[in-house]
Amino acid sequence: MGFTLKVEGPELIELGLESIRTVQFESDIPIDSNARSKDLGSTVILTGKILTAVDGEDADATRKIGLWSLVPAERADSYRKATVEVIAADQVVRKFYYPNAFVVDYTESYDDTEGVGTFTLVFKQKKDKISTITIEGGYGATTA
C-alpha cells in the first residue's frame, strides 16, 4: 500500500509514496457514552521517513510540516486543508479530506545508526467542523 499527503495552506506540502509508512484514521466519542454523543472528534495519525536529498533533488516537505506545527493558534493558517490518500493496486482505497485540520502533535526522531529520520504527525479536524470531513474511495487511481 502507498500513501500520499497533501496539505494546502499558504504553502503546499506534499509527501509521497516514498515517505509515509503508516496511516491511521480514528473517529471517536467518549467510551462511556450511553447514547450517541455530540463530543465527536476525528483524528489522523501518520508516520513516515524524513529523507535526505542525497542526489541534489529538493528536500522533502517534512520541514514544512515542522513549521506548520509551530504556527500559533491565533493565526488562521494554523488550520489547513489536508488530504490523505491510501492507494493499493491502482485503486484509491481511501481519500480522507479534512478541510480544517490542525496539528495536535508533531514528532521527529533521528538516530546515529540510521540514514533517515522518522516523523509522527497527528492532526485533527476542528471539532465544530466535523461534518465537512469527506471520505471517498473505491475508484481507480490516476497515475501521473
Binding site: 466519542i29 455530540k38 493496486a89
Partner: protein, 143 residues
Amino acid sequence: MGFRLKIEGAELIELGLESILTAEFKTDTPDDSNARSTDLGVTAHLTGKILAAVDGENADDTMKVARWSLVPAENSDCYRKATVEVISASQVVRRIHFPNAFCVDYVEKFGDTEGVGTFSLLLKQKKDKTPNLKFEGGFGDAV
C-alpha cells in the same frame, strides 16, 4: 469461524466472511456494583480487514462504516440496526441484533508493508433500549 455484519439505516452496510477477523460481545455493569445494577450497557467490538478491490469488483463497505462513524448526534441516522452473526460449520452460533446501535469508536490503520488495511469498530446499543437487544443462536445457517 466466520462473521457477518449487517447495518441497516440510511444505507445498507454488509461486511462478510472475508472481511471480519474477530467479534467480541460484552455486557457491562459497573465493576463496583454491590447488587445488580440498572446501569447496564451492551457493546460489540469488531476487527477486520479493509480490502482493496483489485479485480474491478465493488469496494468493500468499510468506507460506509467510516462515514457512519462521523454522523453527528443530532441526526437520527446515527442510530442504526446492527446484526452480528457468528457462523461455524453451517451453524449460526450467535446472532446478536442491536436495534439502536451507535458507533463509539472507529479506527482504520494502513501500513506500507501490507496489502490490506485493518479496522476496529466499537458499537453500542443505546442504553435506554438495552432490553430490545436480541441474542439468538444455535440454528442452521440458511445460505
